[in-house]
């Protein structure tokens, strides 16, 4: 689409801008402010980059960051293919389609702390179906003692919680493919794999980019669920970034270092997301070329 050059469009954007700025910029300024000062009671000293240096060398944060990356990539590697597969399996029309759609979506609509509680109840060795069941099978499952049990449980919980988002987006993306494409593929004697590879997957790129971006960002923010389920333990095996930061900022009143790290953390997400963003923009530019070429 050829957009019209019109700076009056700013008026349409302005209300949105003011609201978001109120919620985004002022708190961000505060964080930046903390990150360069040492606050003791009522007095504050400017310390420059000291907190940044200290933070970057803090092994606790470094390991939280490593755990975070491991977690984010693991869940993406599971959720994206699984979500696509489920979208492909879902019924296309009729009451079954509505029913499956609603059931699949359920986990997305559960408040995050309730997700934690739900899985806590589900995985407890004494009263939980999963915990009890696994122990009955002879494995001494215990998420408060065994770090790998806790880690795997959190992964399963996240897959349970968020795969529906990918599935939902892909399902919608699939429904947007005109029937003519499938007909043409049948006529062209395409195999099911060829249909997926050359028709479905290309048409899903947009929703997948958005899905992956949202999942990446949210997985970085994960806080409530592990906090409720494992409390970050055993030890710090399931303490992810947000929780580490929240503990530093609120629990220990380490405002400076935590603010500094917040900013580093923010920059990391920003960098990754920027790559995604540029990808989307290039894809849309391709399409725009396509449209103007067709005119």
């Amino acid at each position: 689409m050829n957009k019209v050059e019109n700076n009056k469009a700013w008026f349409l954007v302005l209300p949105m801008l003011l609201l978001v700025a109120f919620s985004a910029i002022i708190p961000l300024m505060t964080v930046v402010n903390y990150s360069v000062q040492d606050i003791l009671g009522r007095s504050a000293f400017f310390v420059g980059s000291e907190w940044f240096v200290q933070t970057l060398n803090d092994s606790r944060l470094q390991s939280a960051l490593m755990r975070q990356f491991a977690f984010s990539f693991t869940i993406l590697a599971i959720q994206v293919p699984l979500g696509i597969a489920i979208a492909l399996l879902m019924p296309k029309k009729g009451w079954q389609a509505s029913a499956v759609l609603i059931l699949i979506t359920l986990p997305l609509l559960v408040p995050w702390n309730v997700v934690g509680s739900m899985w806590q109840i589900f995985t407890r060795g004494d009263i939980g179906l999963m915990g009890y069941g696994i122990r009955q099978l002879g494995y001494p499952y215990n998420i408060t003692r065994n770090a790998s049990d806790a880690w795997i449980t959190i992964i399963i919980m996240d897959v349970w919680h968020w795969t529906p988002l990918i599935a939902l987006l892909c399902y919608s993306g699939l429904r947007a493919i005109p029937e003519a494409y499938y007909q043409a593929a049948q006529i062209d004697r395409a195999s099911k794999w060829a249909v997926f590879r050359y028709i479905q997957l290309p048409k899903l790129t947009n929703v997948l980019v958005i899905g992956v971006l949202l999942r990446f960002m949210h997985s970085f923010m994960i806080y409530a669920e592990p906090f409720v389920l494992t409390g970050g333990g055993p030890g710090s095996s399931t303490t992810f970034l947000s929780q580490t930061l929240a503990t530093m900022a609120i629990g220990q009143q380490d405002l400076g270092p935590s603010a500094a790290f917040s900013i580093i953390y923010f920059l990391i997400i920003l960098a990754v997301s920027y790559v995604f963003y540029v990808t989307i923009m290039n894809m849309q530019k391709d399409k725009a070329d396509n449209i103007s070429g067709g005119a």
């Binding site: 049948q186 006529i187 062209d188 004697r189 060829a194 050359y198 391709d286 067709g294």
Partner: protein
């Protein structure tokens, strides 16, 4: 390569059809001979695309059989019927190049690459796509995309038939004409059965040797363009083919001839007999504007009529006149005298058609 026969074929989209109106295709018999170039002509919603999809296997008919040569293929999918179909709007595989798009139907059946290459180039050459072969298909214009879609149909040289579902809708008029000629050339070159669906009579008659006219889910006539023009088997064909369409008069059969109001129009005894024996009172006389005889002067055979309107269309004129209380049209040559207010016309017997219940009365003297 095959002869395609439709036996007692009918199709409905309803689960519980009640009346003939519920059928997209009403029970019919039809044969498309091997190697023919056919057009399937009709207004939108008459069941043309449904019939095409049934032939290709995208749809399974609710009744009857689709027979390729001596095989009933109802149970076969489009893949197994080995039939090519080109759709109204271009369908291309965005992520592939033009070459890969054209090669796709061949590679899907694992044709060796050394055979794919020359074939793709051959088809690209015919469709003038050679210079685009390396381009990504998604950046093409609508015209080019449709050519790629057609190319995927043409690239297969072993198909039973190629079906075209109004393939030139999105193409601009000049190119349309060129592509139609290309298709005809390809037909002559490869001798593949081609069925071409369209709602444009000009497109149908320039492409096809024989045209099937479809109306309300039925093939009402199957014939050469000339037959459709001279002896429309159904009032719809008379109305749909030709411009302007055929004139129709609601008449009654009497001993003297066809009675229209207080005017008697003479017809042959044979036809009159059939008409009088008919149980239906839905009786019509039809004559093409081209065949109405317009006399220069008063004449004993001619009826005197009142001219309503005269339309000059360059090489000919269309005269609209009142015949009794019916409005009719007649075509005048450009060198013919132009009647003022009054005109004298007659209906040559050999060009008069009698219709009972909308179908033409065929008598053996023809």
């Amino acid at each position: 390569m095959a002869e395609i026969r439709l036996r007692s074929l009918a199709h409905t989209y309803e689960t519980d059809p009640q009346s003939p109106q519920d059928y997209a295709i009403r029970e019919m018999e039809h044969v498309w001979h091997q190697g023919g170039a056919y057009a399937l002509l009709g207004p939108s919603g008459c069941g043309k695309s449904t019939m095409l999809n049934i032939i290709s296997g995208l749809l399974r008919p609710s009744d009857g059989d689709v027979i390729f040569d001596s095989r009933i293929v109802n149970d076969l999918s489009p893949q197994e019927r080995n039939i090519a179909q080109v759709f109204q709007f271009p369908v291309i595989y965005d992520t592939m190049t033009v070459f890969d798009n054209l090669a796709f139907p061949l590679r899907n059946v694992k044709k060796p690459e050394h055979m794919v290459m020359p074939r793709v180039h051959e088809v690209a050459d015919i469709l003038e796509l050679t210079h685009l072969l390396k381009r990504k298909a998604k950046n093409l214009t609508a015209d080019e995309k449709q050519k790629v879609s057609m190319g995927r149909g043409l690239v297969r040289d072993d198909v039973s038939a190629i079906l075209f579902d109004e393939p030139l809708t999105v193409i601009d008029p000049q190119l349309k004409w060129k592509l139609r000629r290309k298709l005809k050339q390809i037909h002559e070159q490869f001798n593949i059965t081609m069925i071409y669906v369209t709602h444009d009579q000009l497109e149908a008659s320039t492409f096809a040797e024989k045209i099937a006219v479809m109306y309300e889910g039925q093939i009402v006539q199957f014939g050469t363009p000339r037959e459709l023009f001279e002896k429309p088997a159904h009032t719809f064909v008379g109305f749909f083919i030709g411009s302007p369409g055929m004139n129709f008069l609601d008449v009654e059969a009497t001993e003297q001839g066809m009675q229209f109001g207080d005017i008697t129009i003479p017809v042959s005894q044979k036809r009159l007999k059939v008409a009088r024996e008919a149980t239906s009172d839905n009786l019509k006389l039809g004559i093409r504007p081209e065949f109405i005889h317009v006399w220069d002067d008063r004449n004993s055979e001619a009826f005197e009529v009142t001219v309503k309107d005269m339309e000059d269309l360059g090489t000919y004129r269309i005269m609209t006149f009142w015949f009794g209380d019916a409005l009719m049209k007649a075509r005048l040559h450009e060198d013919q005298r132009i009647p003022q207010k009054k005109a004298w016309i007659s209906f040559p017997e050999q060009w008069l058609n009698v219709y009972i219940d909308e179908f033409r009365v065929e008598v053996d003297d023809e």
